[in-house]
Every structure is written in C-alpha cells, then in structure tokens.
C-alpha cells in the first residue's frame, strides 16, 4: 500500500538521475516528490521542502550538510534520523552500494518507508548499469576509431590491404598478450612521434 502523503526529497546534482528517481517514485504513486539539483543554500531549501524522507547521492559532498540536521537546532523543525531502522544494516549496505544515502524523519514507521527505499535503491542501480553501458559503448567507439587509424597507417607504410593490416595488428596483439586496441594505440602514438 503506497503512502501517497509522504513528502520525498531527492538531492542530486545529476539532473538526469534525479529525474529518473522522481519518475520512478511518481509512477509508484508518490505524488509529493521534490528535487534539489542546485546546492546553494541547501539547508534552507530542505527546510522549505519539509520532507519526511530525503535521498542524497553519495558523491555529493553536501551529505555533511545534512548531518547537521541530526543536531537539535533552531533552524530545523524536527530531528531526523538516518535510515528506517538503524539495525537494518542490509538496507543500509544496499543503499550505500547503490550510491545513495537516505535520511528519514524520526518516528516514521518502517513499513511506510521501506518500499520507497527499495524503489530508490533499484533505480540507482539501474542508472549505474545504464551509465556503465554507455561508458562501454563510448569506449568501444573510441577504440574502433584508433584501430581504423592504425590500419590506415599500416596500409600506407607497408602497401597492404585493410584485411591484412587488421590481421597484422591482431597477430602482434596475440604475440604480446595485449589487446588489439592497445597495440593500435601504440602504433598511432609512435607514428605521431615519427611524424
């Protein structure tokens, strides 16, 4: 049973990731979701949003700003505790592994918050996988370009065809136990040095 009345705040400088989390929460039926991507005057923005649950990404140095909210202070309405249940180390570990930290208003019942926590963790993980995939694709593209360049150099300097040039690169890589892309990169660098 989704508790639509909960106010959820997502703090993330990565606006794409923040909107993926926000969409996930809205799709799940949480309507009171707000997002902070601009970190100036963070504490004031948080007080204004008045959230029951806060998510912040771990790369964000502003996690330490949130630590202040644990303190009894005039500037914050309520003391806030970290995580649903301090003894629930599995959830804490899953969150940290995914790259997110959660802050929950003290006294909120575990069952109200657990589904939100789980959903956010899974969205963070999905985002991480997407980013890794994107990085791999980018890297593959870059390597493709370097290999093409290296083939071109070989074809010109040795007067061989494209297929033969690639075979030569591959054979060299195998003999030296290196990757084809690495051999290609060395060749391109060497060619640059030799003019």
């Amino acid at each position: 049973m989704v508790d639509a009345t909960l106010r959820i705040l997502v703090i993330d400088e990565d606006a794409v990731r923040a909107s993926i989390i926000e969409d996930g929460l809205r799709e799940a039926g949480y309507v009171r979701v707000s997002v902070i991507t601009e970190m100036r005057e963070l504490l004031r923005q948080i007080v204004q949003a008045d959230p029951d649950v806060i998510f912040i990404d771990l790369e964000n140095p502003n996690r330490d700003v949130l630590e202040q909210m644990f303190q009894v202070s005039r500037s914050v309405r309520r003391p806030i505790a970290m995580f649903v249940d301090r003894s629930d180390t599995a959830s804490i570990e899953a969150a940290i592994d995914a790259g997110v930290s959660a802050y929950i208003v003290d006294g909120l019942r575990k069952e109200r918050v657990k589904p939100i926590l789980d959903m956010t963790i899974s969205r963070f993980n999905a985002f991480n996988r997407l980013r890794e995939e994107l990085d791999r694709t980018k890297q593959a593209l870059e390597e493709r370009k370097v290999i093409d360049k290296a083939k071109g150099i070989l074809m010109r300097s040795r007067g061989i065809g494209e297929e033969e040039a690639y075979a030569l690169l591959r054979r060299t890589a195998m003999n030296e136990s290196r990757r084809v892309a690495d051999v290609a990169q060395s060749l391109v660098t060497a060619a640059k040095l030799l003019g």
């Binding site: 970190m39 100036r40 005057e41 504490l43 771990l58 790369e59 964000n60 140095p61 502003n62 996690r63 330490d64 700003v65 949130l66 630590e67 202040q68 644990f70 303190q71 009894v72 202070s73 005039r74 500037s75 003391p79 806030i80 505790a81 970290m82 995580f83 301090r86 180390t89 804490i92 570990e93 940290i96 592994d97 790259g99 930290s101 003290d106």
Partner: protein, 430 residues
Amino acid sequence: MDARATADIRPGGGGREGEGREGTTVTIGFIPLLDCAILVAAAEKGFAEAEGLALALVRETSWANIRDRVALGHFDAAHMLAPLPIASTLGAGGHINAPMIAPFSLGLGGNAITLSEPLFAELEAEGATLADGPAAMAEGLAALVARRRHSGAAPLTLAMVHPFSGHNYELRYWLAAAGIDPDEDVRLVVLPPPFMVDALAEGQVDGFCVGEPWNSLAVARGVGAIVTTKSALWRQGPDKVLGLRRRYAEEHPDRLAALLRALHRAAAWAGDPGNHEALARLLATPAYLGGSAETLLRALGGRIVRRHGQARDFVPDFLVLHDHAANFPWQSHALWFYSQMVRWRQIRFDPADAETARMVYRPDLYRAALGPLGADLPNASAKVEGALRHPTPVASRSGRMILGPDGFFDGRLFDPDDLEGYLLGLGVPV
C-alpha cells in the same frame, strides 16, 4: 608503491582481503586535506611496502561517507575527524552504532578560523589587528555580534565541516569564551571544505573554521583574513586520527600493527622539514589534493599569510605531524571531545559513556606496535590538557621525551580525571 594503481576498488569493496604478491591490501579512505599527509607518505614513499602492506587510498567527498564506509567494512580504516570514532561508537547523532577505535593520531593543529574581508574590516574599525591573540579577537567579535543584535541585523553565519569535528568544538570554544552563545547569537552551519571559499566570497557565510589549504586559498583570493589558528586556540590540539572498526583491529592485530609501524615511519618522514618540499609536491598531485604545491608547502612549515598582500607569519606548531608525540592517541583528547559533545548538548552526560569514549583511543595498541621499533613512548595514557606552558620533559620509556606547550588560550585546564568538575566549571549541568 603507487596508491592509484591499487586504488581501483569498487565502492562495494571487492578484494579488500587480498593477499597479493605485493602484500596485504589495506583500503583507507581519506578527504583531500593537508593532514592526510601521513597516509599519502606511507603509501607513496615505501613505508607501507616495507611492512608488506599495499595501501589502497580512496579519496572521499564527505565525512559521512568516510564514517559509513568504515562502519560497513568498505574501508579497513580512514582519515577521520578526531571526534568521529567516538560519536560513532556512542551512536550519537542518530547514526549506525558502530564501535570504532583510534590507535594513531594523524596530526595536531592544521586548521584555522577565517573571517570575511568585510567582517574583518568592521573589526579593524574597532581597533582589532591581526596581531591580536584569540581572546582579544573574540572580544572584538562579541561586541560586533551584540551591536548587530541590538540593531536587529541578521546574525552572523559561520561555517564548519561537521557536527562531530574538532572544528565545531574549537569554533564554539572560541566564541563562548567571549560570551557569544554559538547556538543563539550566531548561525553555525556545515559546509564541505571545497565550497568554503566560494561561500565566503559570495557572502553566504561570514567566516569559517576549516583545515588547510582552504584558509590560505581564501586569503589568496582576497576574500578572507585568518584571524586565529587552532594552534593558538589549543596548542598541540588533536585534529584527525586513523579510525577503524574495533572488530577489524580484533580480527587483524598483526596487520594493524604493521600499518601503525608504517604510519609511524611515514609520520617521521612527513614531519621532517627537509622533506616538506617533496611532500607538498606529492600532495599537490591530482590524485590527492591537487592545486598549488607552494600553498601546501607554506602550511606544512607554519608560514601562513594571514591576509592578502601581507608578509608570511610564522605560526609555531601550526601543523604537527610527528614531533611532541603528535601521533600518540592521548585518552585525555578523547575525553575532551566527549566533554564538548556534552557541553553542546549532542549527548547527555553519562559516566559510562565517558568511559566508552576514553577507550575509543587506544594507546595500548600504539605502544604494542611501536615499542619494538624503539619509538619513544610516554608512560602515561592521559595528561592534564593545558598544563604545559613550556616544552617539558615527561616520563617516557627512554626517560627524556619532551612534550611541547599545550595550553588552551583561555588558560583553562582540562583534567581528564575530573570531567564533571570541568563541565561544571563551564556552566554545564551534569
């Protein structure tokens, strides 16, 4: 040798227990501040390797991450704010209750209080100068704070780095000594160190207490003046420690002893002024602090430019990495931090908690690891803080250890055996 070569560890922490050919890997989190110097020296100058350890130094962005990753076992140990392992062990502040220990201090001093140029100009108009001691400077500030209150102006905003930091306590101590209530008369906020200088330049904060190089960077930009240093507030005051899970120490006693030996030798190297230039260059590489080696070198030598365009001041004991038993985890330091947690209502006074706090600092482990090296060790595990006005010989294994002057600027003594008396003396009910 190269920390970056081994630093490629997934946040989940795979391979921490690896016993590779280059030795046992110990994963250590750090925040890019000048006083991570001993850890960097241990990893880069062969001290860890000589002990059969490969240090994987992992740069972190927040003290909260440092604490949580040590608690969850992602990191075997970390560069920690000196009060943080105590807070974590006591479960103070609503966090995971994770028993931690601090067997080694990573340095004394190293931070400072900087006020914005406009605010310092106001103080100057009232007769303050940079030559003023911390007491006079705070009195001047108190007069300004009172005037602001009467005129209905917004209270001053001062930043520090974490609620459980030496910075928080020394800033509060300094303000309170002049009658400024840090919770009522000013706004204290937390800001991550890399944002401090911009916040000061933009007028979001009127001053801050932070470790180097951030004070010097504010001065270099002409947006702030360093009005006092930790070494002036509490000479030989502790700032960062090596923090780790108590369980890790119990499960890997030999590995921890090897790490402490490596850190001891690294500290001796890093604390030697003859090595400061090499150390500054090392720390200025992008994997660690980045930025200007020149600024770091000045801070290492305590040659501080306190205001833009002025000559360097020599600040004695600005950052002590090794001398005067700087690495010894005095239990009186742990108890002083505990007293400040009580003083500022972060926790309620409880003699059992005080004892737990004392036992977070582990001189026994320090002695056991470093005794066999012939390192000189103080006989006592705690001392009356503020009692030494001059360099003083104290009882030690070799019988001739010299501790530096360690006074608080207001002359108050902290007797670790009379915590309640100390708190009552500060007007704190216990």
